[in-house]
């Protein structure tokens, strides 16, 4: 049962082959059993989950259910959940019980879904390995010596180990797609503004976007149907009409034009990864797609630009953590500056402090034009690169990550090398485009993901292609053997 997809579970619940309570208990047991090994949950809410499962069962009995009523899942601990600890992976918020629900949380609750708990993550979503969490690193279920990727590493690890059938993640520079790739699951980063950011603790406001982390594209479509849409509480959310994301899943991809950016396949890409991605693309060609080499000439600049924009926004977004109204406050501050400096100095971890300092620096007097403004200009160039490409092709395909999951501690003390591993993901965030990572193979028993990038609001198309791909491949069905 625990290997079922959302679609299968939904059917089982509707046909009353299993109750939500039974299902929830089954997953809760798995969470409790395996969390010690994987450390993918910060909080497991057994009582609340079971209570909600019983409510869901009642709704199903009364016929008042949605497709996802009664389905257990997990939230990344970046989404505010009323009455439940919301730590963002930080000591700063270790004592923070969110007093309200994020819009995404509210929507999933309203759909009758049952939250099992909150997943571990890099502190304030800053990291690509899940090692910056105050709660310790998450382990990759494929090999516990390896990282699951980040920042949504807890969600990726939990879904890969089938501790929950689906989870939410957030993606600022690849934080859904990269861990999805490293853990062998499907992860969709929607168009900027497609999913409300209200209640999602901000890292970099103009880049952050929440999305589903699931076993299949079909499951991702089901979750998108719940969470996508305009939110009057988030004025950056888009008023663009929302698709039924399951509607086009079964469309043929005959005639689809795929762009292959030469910058993504050049040197720097591991040849084994390249081989896997090429194989994946061949599968799509067998389904009737055609390929074309394209250029994204400013790809190299995406990392430098990203590491200006994201830290700049983060340095300001994280100023509210000052020990006054919520969160960590240092012991016996001697005066106001001491309260600020020590609460923040002690409450934030090293990577967060690094990024705050970089952000503070690039915005400070005399440097703003050279750094912040320049990065926003490059952002414009990168957006134009993609728009030019989309004149010729429907989607862009390539690798999600530069390699498979690296070993714990391997890059922890080398931030720059960690940052450079985001090369295939960050430009998508700078341009605000949707992209999906789907399992496409393995290297030495570690998963590899293929990334598909679409034009604005083309989530339906990405899900359609991914779903068609998953009809002819079974990489997404692989489960690490200890978790089968």
């Amino acid at each position: 049962m625990h290997q079922s997809t959302l679609t299968q579970l939904s059917t089982a619940l509707k046909e009353k082959k299993v109750s939500s309570e039974e299902l929830t208990q089954l997953y809760l047991d798995r969470c409790k059993n395996f969390n010690e090994a994987l450390n993918c949950f910060i909080t497991i809410n057994e009582d609340v989950a079971l209570e909600n499962a019983r409510t869901a069962d009642k709704k199903i009995a009364e016929g008042k259910n949605t497709d996802l009523t009664g389905i257990p899942f997990a939230h990344k601990d970046i989404f505010c959940t009323n009455g439940i600890k919301t730590s963002c992976g930080s000591k700063m918020l270790d004592n923070f019980i969110a007093p309200y629900d994020a819009t995404v949380v509210e929507k999933m609750n309203d759909a009758g879904m049952v939250m099992l708990g909150k997943t571990n993550m890099d502190e304030f979503a800053m990291g690509s390995s899940n090692e910056t969490s105050f709660y310790g690193p998450v382990k990759n279920p494929w090999d516990s010596d390896h990282v699951p990727g980040g920042s949504s590493g807890g969600s990726a690890s939990a879904v890969a180990a089938r501790l929950c059938p689906a989870a939410t993640g957030t993606d600022t520079g690849g934080s859904i797609r990269q861990p999805a790739s490293l853990c062998g699951i499907t992860g969709l980063k929607p168009t900027y503004g497609r999913v409300s950011r209200y209640g999602m603790i901000a890292f970099a406001s103009s880049l952050d976007q929440g999305g589903p982390m699931t076993q299949t594209a079909e499951d991702a479509a089901l979750i998108m149907n719940v969470i996508a849409g305009f939110d009057k509480r988030d004025s950056t959310s888009a008023e663009h009409p929302v698709d039924d994301y399951t509607f086009r899943l079964n469309d043929s991809i005959e005639g689809l034009k795929i762009g292959l950016p030469k910058e993504y396949f050049g040197e720097g890409l591991d040849s084994n990864i390249a081989k896997i991605i090429e194989d994946g693309i061949k599968e799509l060609e067998k389904l009737g797609a055609s390929c074309k080499e394209i250029e994204l000439p400013n790809t190299d600049l995406s990392i430098p630009a990203y590491y200006v924009v994201a830290p700049a926004e983060c340095s300001s977004n994280l100023s509210r953590f000052d020990g006054v109204r919520f969160g960590y406050r240092c012991e016996e501050p001697k005066d106001l500056p001491d309260l600020y400096c020590r609460s923040r100095g002690e409450g934030f971890g090293k990577e967060v402090k690094r990024r705050i300092m970089i952000g503070t620096y690039v915005l400070s007097a005399g440097y703003y034009d050279a750094y912040y403004l320049k990065a926003q200009q490059i952002r414009h160039l990168i957006r134009d690169d993609f728009q030019n490409a989309f004149k010729d092709v429907d989607v862009i395909a390539g690798p999600t990550a530069t390699g498979t999951a690296f070993k714990l501690n391997e890059k922890l003390n080398d931030p720059v090398s960690m940052y450079l591993s985001d090369i295939y993901t960050v430009s998508v965030n700078l341009a605000g485009l949707p992209a999906i990572s789907v399992p496409a193979g393995f290297i030495e028993n570690l998963p590899v993901g293929m990334q598909l990038i679409g034009n604005y609001f083309e989530e339906s198309r990405l899900l359609n292609i991914a779903h068609q791909y998953q009809q002819v491949t079974d990489w997404h069905k692989q489960v690490p053997k200890e978790y089968k």
């Binding site: 309200y100 209200y198 509480r233 988030d234 926004e313 109204r325 400070s364």
Partner: protein, 482 residues
């Protein structure tokens, strides 16, 4: 050396919206601490601001009133600094592309001439909360009810040359925002406050001197005092051969002095950047046109109309249009007085203003309404009462004894115009004052005018003020000269 002062003002006026600029919390003044601070105002993790359209419209209204340009696009930016009453660690304000760009207003100088003062820009921002230093022992209490209240910051050009001009400018802006009904302008409650940038330079020099910024002054009187103190201080410093330090200073009204303030952020580096939580605001021409078509009559236009249609003096018109409420009172009074403008103006600028000042009251709280005052003036007009008796009637109305007609009736204050009754009183007075009559009759005619006053006074006294003074005068002249 002769010195010239240069002054620019930054006025912060709270906009009279129901809810805050970025949240749905109430803006009402005087609530218990933090009961009007919602999740967004507190800057809780994950919350996002959403712009209040009313704040945008009020700012546009102001822009149009000062004939400023309203750019098509407006952007909100973050001003980053740490302070306990600033919950997010940044204030959402505007930096590039403020909602209102260059405009101007005219102020009236003491010699009656007028001067144009440039307005550099006006931008929207959120107010901070309040720090309370008393009542919490060694700690400071933070109340965030005010956090997020919309402010319009109006920045002038350095066009003012003395404290009086600065006050005239501030009063004019105050009157405009009140006319537009975009702010209650309440200075005690901090809804209208200003920072003054002051510098001096040798007369004739083009470059500005080093300026100091006087922070958070919340009364017209203090603005004048603070600036005058600061000018003298700066001149003293310069004449001693020292230099002015560019700094923020605080005015202490109790000591009437300004003192250096430890700056909020020693290294003042606000790191402004466009707020990524807020998209640019697009201002459609149709909205501007719509707002323009509903713009009320503004003080300058009203004053002109008062001079032209009511034949008021410049001084009276200035006074009566200084506040929208006074102008409204005046017009209602004229209406009730059957169109009598001169007396209405005199009574409002005289008796009524004196009484209001004495009780420290606003005209809107006056116990004598415009209608009451107008009806009384009507009774002066139709000779029912004299101007002198009217003062009694006014006092009675002020004390809540009813309207003019009932007071006149109840107190029997109706003027005596019956000639025979007045004649009798005149005869009595003449009969009882032989010495004065003799003196009068022996005096040359040019002195008689003065002496007759005695007789008039006696007659009025006998009549308890009710005799028609004009008739008394005529009768006395007639009888004493015969």
């Amino acid at each position: 050396m002769e010195w010239e002062t240069v002054i620019g003002l930054e006025i912060h006026t709270q906009l009279a919206t129901e809810s805050k600029i970025f949240s749905g919390a109430a803006t009402a003044y005087g609530a218990e601490p933090n009961v009007q601070a919602c999740a967004v105002d507190l800057g809780l993790p994950g919350v996002l601001p959403v712009i209040n359209e009313q704040a945008i419209q009020m700012a546009i209204k102001f822009g149009l009133a000062i004939e400023a340009e309203i750019p098509e696009r407006s952007i909100f930016a973050r001003k980053n600094y740490f302070y306990p009453d600033l919950p997010k660690g940044y204030q959402i304000s505007q930096f590039e592309l403020p909602i209102v760009s260059k405009g101007h207003i005219d102020i009236q100088l003491e010699d009656g001439s007028s001067k144009t003062i440039g307005v550099t820009r006006a931008h929207l921002e959120e107010d901070a909360g309040k720090s309370m230093h008393e009542g919490f022992g060694k700690l400071t209490g933070i109340d965030l009810n005010r956090a997020g209240t919309p402010l319009l910051e109006i920045v002038s050009e350095p066009d003012m040359r003395n404290a009086k001009e600065a006050v005239a400018y501030m009063k004019k802006i105050h009157s405009i925002v009140r006319y537009l009904e975009i702010s209650d302008g309440n200075m005690q409650e901090g809804s209208f406050r200003c920072d003054a940038n002051v510098s001096v330079r040798p007369k004739g020099q083009d470059e500005f001197g080093t300026r100091t910024e006087l922070k958070n002054i919340n009364s017209f009187r203090f603005v004048e005092q603070a600036i005058n103190y600061e000018i003298e201080r700066q001149i003293d410093v310069l004449e001693e051969g020292s230099e002015i330090v560019q700094e923020t200073r605080l005015y202490d009204p109790n000591k009437n002095e300004t003192r250096s303030m430890r700056s909020k952020e020693e290294a003042n580096d606000y790191r402004y950047f466009p707020d990524p939580d807020l998209l640019p605001v697009q201002i459609e021409q149709s909205l501007i046109d719509e707002i323009k078509s509903h713009l009320p009559e503004l003080p300058d236009a009203k004053k002109q109309r008062f001079i032209e249609s009511f034949k008021l003096s410049d001084d009276d018109a200035t006074l009566l249009t200084s506040q929208k409420e006074i102008a409204d009172f005046f017009e209602a009074c004229v209406d009730a007085a059957g169109g009598e403008t001169k007396l209405s103006a005199n009574w409002i600028t005289g008796e009524l203003t004196a009484n209001l000042n004495k009780e420290n009251m606003d005209i809107t709280d006056s116990p004598v309404t415009a209608e009451m005052l107008g009806s009384m003036i009507k009774r002066i007009q139709d000779n029912t009462i004299s101007g002198k008796i009217a003062k009694q009637v006014f006092e009675a109305m002020w004390n809540g004894e009813g309207d003019a007609d009932s007071i006149i009736e109840n107190k029997g204050l109706k003027q005596v115009t019956d000639t025979s009754a007045i004649e009798k009183l005149v005869d009595d007075v003449i009969a009882n004052s032989p010495d004065q009559v003799k003196q009068y009759q022996e005096s040359p005619p040019e002195k008689q005018g003065k002496l007759i006053g005695y007789f008039v006074g006696q007659v009025m006294k006998q009549s308890q003020g009710k005799a028609n003074p004009k008739q008394v005068n005529e009768l006395l002249k007639q009888k004493l000269n015969s």
